[in-house]
Symmetry: C2
Subunit: 588 residues, 2 copies
């Protein structure tokens, strides 16, 4: 069984010392979100995650969600915990007060997302898509629809889903077959099958609001004929009360390697009543409002699972004695705690330096997200939106791949015990493994980054991003200079790689395609390195006020610069070898 | 459900064209092992693995081994399959004809080990340790003991185990507590608890022969007081018939992430009768005879699981249509098979180039092993033994880590489907994950390599190994030269790293310890690259006789040199950054 202590100190450090984005600080709506308030929220969040939700992880793994007589039953304890969870208002954290939300910024809700991912990803998934659906409805629906659906969703009494995938289309949504036929009253009847629907059915809420992409019967084939529909499990009457069951049934739920507490459903729509949300045939655009924010949250899932894996392997390494360290000269059989061994320490610091760097990057991205949504100057909004768009695939893919690495390293520290069910580590390894796959596989993220995000209609985004980092590196702090020197070396490698890949996107697409995963990793490592520079700047300037904390940060950063950043070398060399020999290969 | 086609062609290519070790070819005992005979064996082996054993993988995962009323029951179908398996003589393949074995060299049995690992690792584990126990008894026991135990073990009617680990000691066997008290007749009574005992109990054989390390009551503490004992589940009478049950009971079996068909037992020894094997207090040395060969087999497990994961993802990539390739200009929704996408091809070639390179390295190592065991010139034997000793940790750790990488890449190609139980891919990912842990974690392998294998009492082994590669690279074949040039660049990096690490082993052990995993990877990648050079040499020289086959080899090698070998850069840079900042870190 794993233990978990929410990293409130590190989060508060970020909130107090790294909230240095001028535009973010100009946002009126968050003027009252003081550090004291945030600290209160995080401490309450820590309690519920550590005490109420953490035990659900093991429960859900041992007694997975099941489909019984057409109804999905969540694992033991989920219902009671969910009741308390919504009573305490956690589903409403980042929602608009207009609909009953608490109006907290993403800089706060992202911390909660991380904690909840650490405690139980399966449990988290029952409310996670609700937030996505809330955002999508809030952004694209009419006021009537918003008034009818949002308050209950914010309250957590109703939940939401995202219905995209079908048996023949996952990545390639242009292939979708679900049909929507317009009725005389302007509503639609949807018929088709959706698969891999997270929380597609369950017993935690009174209603489930499905956001479904489908093709209206008079729409063209391909991605240009897709519209978005709101399709509730139970029809909602005009007065907001629940009417009859809609034409949606759960065909089956998946038997999966991990996140067994989460119900992944096959949903059959049989003339189900639906309401079009947003403009006709622009459904993919509307859905991507939801998808993009969701992708960042999936990155945060990887971060949260990494954190709990690290914490447990650190504790174990201080309890398990095995072998002598190089300092131990005793000639009897006495052994040292394994944390005394250099190789174990290296592994622990690898985890820690990645996790804390990622958290800092994520905090920067949360600020940018808020600016992109709420600043009153269009230009400022747009620039932030461009950075968010650039970093979304990076955070999704890098953090989740690192989650695989870190949960694997944690298991390795546990040795044979790590492979057994008792310690809970192997569950983290299995649970995390969905994150590089869902919401677009990490290869899809890399292709998105390289082919669509580097340059967009607003110009050369990656060039602007690199210039921003360059500017941040113009810092005369002497103690920072070795770190800045290292990052500059690798930034130059990113610049060369960027020039190369932009050319390939134009002139040799397969070369770019075969290199895109490496490119994403390089950009991601630079972004984490850049975040560490900002952490270091504070650490050196504010050193005397909290020596122990800052010394820990400085040494952790040192590890990242010495041992993690050099991964860039291999990525650059192998990716830029081109793809002719790959495309010509005959896979007989 | 996975499919599997044993790679007999590639194995026969190695057996026919790469069996070029002069000393190996001098071994009289294998003169009759002609390619025709080997081909017959491999074709029969392919049949039994593809047809009889492959289905056991899923069966064992769905209905794991269980402990019922103190008795371990194997999964459905295991008993019937095991009966056929021993009737066909597969347990005796590499054993001495004196005891009923078929006397095949490791160059052949290693191929069988690979196939069996691909088909079902859990099933394999019921006979795998028998071979280890056979080797250990054959090497260290008296003739009487050999005559009494070996024929039944060779026949497969009895199986064997290795009992090392105890609750407080895995890596660090000096801590062991199991006691052996000498009796007046020269036998011993053993008391203690052993954990993580693979196939510690099961219902496939009539008897189980445990090889147990324990401390004789008058022996010193630490590793210098450990002796090796043979402890049978049922006492064996003088006439070879089975007597009463010995004092061994199965306390529990582990609930594990994977290899669920395999019973991992807690064994309680309560005054169990045992016979000392080999010299008193030298038990660890005797056990390591078994352990070292076993570690190579664990490496082969990683290779076998990689092969079947690759095969299934290749098939899937030719069946699944999703997205347009860069060549597809159609404007309707038509999609291409995912194997048309550069990034998927890159991933497939990554797997293939590693797998085939590993298989060639393993074949070279099998030849060296046979020379080390059977050559009649002591000096030749010793040199081969040194190479085997150097490469054992490399093959164990590299192949199993690559198994984690390759099964993960294969799952990624399957997308969401890969995470469900239906495809069998996620099982390969889970089953393989034990291989970097058991028989000594991969960090233990790396420490063993760096601190004990580079230089031994016979001299500077790594220096001799590097010189051998250098000599093999003195080749004037023009077509080979770009490959040789690349390998030489990386060989020079290995040489610098070696000089650095030898110095650190002497003068700064923590630096060496923190670098040892990277060093193992670098040496391993060079060893695989070297094996590819030998494959390429044949491919170019014999090109016209089998163009399609050799072209495939040449292009696969190209991928390895362009995209896999450059991993060496990062390993060298990060490892040689030292460990001061790691050792000083305060993990509060």
């Amino acid at each position: 069984m794993t233990t978990y202590t929410a990293p409130v100190d590190d989060m508060m450090f970020l909130y107090e010392k790294l909230r240095n984005n001028k535009f973010y600080n100009e946002l009126d709506k968050y003027k009252d979100v003081t550090p004291d308030l945030v600290k209160n929220i995080l401490e309450e969040a820590a309690k519920i995650n550590q005490n109420l939700i953490l035990p659900l992880a093991k429960a859900g793994d041992e007694q997975p969600a099941v489909l019984e007589n057409g109804v999905v039953r969540t694992p033991p304890g989920y219902k009671e915990a969910y009741k308390k969870y919504i009573e305490d208002g956690w589903t409403s954290l980042s929602c608009d007060p207009k609909y009953g939300g608490q109006g907290m910024p993403k800089t706060v809700s992202a911390f909660f997302d991380e904690m909840l991912s650490s405690a139980s990803l399966s449990f988290k998934l029952y409310s996670e898509l609700s937030i996505g659906a809330y955002n999508c409805i809030n952004h694209h629906a009419t006021d009537d629809v918003k008034k009818k659906f949002l308050p209950k969703m914010v309250e957590g009494k109703w939940s939401g889903t995202m219905c995209l995938t079908e048996p023949v289309c996952g990545t390639d949504l242009g292939l979708l077959k679900t049909k929507a036929v317009e009725q005389s009253d302007g509503t639609y009847k949807l018929t088709g099958q959706k698969i891999f629907i997270t929380s597609g059915d369950h017993d935690l809420t009174e209603n489930i609001i499905h956001l479904v992409i489908a093709r209206s019967s008079d729409s063209p084939s391909g991605t240009r004929g897709i519209s978005l529909f709101l399709v509730p499990k139970f029809i909602v009457n005009e007065d907001g009360s629940l009417g009859p069951r809609n034409g949606i049934s759960t065909g089956s739920i998946e038997s999966k390697m991990g996140i067994k507490g989460s119900a992944t459903c096959v949903l059959n729509f049989d003339e189900a009543a639906g309401y079009m949300i947003g403009p006709k045939n622009k459904g993919l655009n509307s859905m991507f409002t939801m998808m993009n924010l969701e992708r960042i949250v999936v990155g945060i899932q990887g971060l949260g699972i990494s954190e709990i894996a690290y914490q447990n392997s650190l504790i174990y390494s201080k309890e398990r004695k095995q072998g002598k360290s190089n300092k131990n000269n005793s000639s009897n059989g006495s052994a040292d705690f394994i944390i005394e061994h250099a190789d174990i320490r290296r592994s622990l610091l690898n985890m820690k330096s990645i996790i804390e760097g990622e958290r800092a990057l994520c905090f920067w991205l949360s600020q940018q997200t808020e600016v992109s949504l709420n600043h009153n100057i269009e230009e400022v909004k747009q620039e932030a939106a461009d950075y968010v768009s650039l970093m979304t695939p990076v955070v999704k893919a890098l953090f989740t791949d690192m989650g695989s690495e870190i949960t694997s390293e944690a298991m390795q520290i546990f040795g044979g015990y790590g492979y057994t069910k008792d310690q809970g580590i192997e569950q983290l390894y299995r649970d995390n493994r969905i994150t590089p796959i869902y919401e677009g596989t990490n290869s899809v993220q890399a292709i998105d980054l390289v082919f669509r995000k580097l340059i967009n209609k607003n110009g050369d985004i990656i060039d602007r991003y690199i210039k921003m980092i360059k500017k941040d590196l113009e810092n005369n702090n002497e103690k920072l200079s070795p770190f800045i020197k290292d990052l500059n070396i690798y930034l130059d490698k990113l610049i060369s790689f960027t020039t190369w890949i932009k050319d390939k996107v134009e002139n040799s697409k397969d070369d770019a395609n075969a290199a895109c995963n490496d490119y994403l990793k390089v950009l991601g490592l630079i972004a984490v390195g850049h975040s560490w520079i900002k952490v270091l700047e504070v650490s050196f300037n504010d050193y005397d006020n909290n020596k122990e904390f800052y010394e820990d940060k400085i040494q952790t950063a040192r590890f990242f610069f010495q041992r993690v950043l050099p991964r860039i070398d291999t990525h650059c060399i192998s990716a830029m070898s081109g793809s002719g020999y790959i495309m010509d290969f005959k896979f007989n």
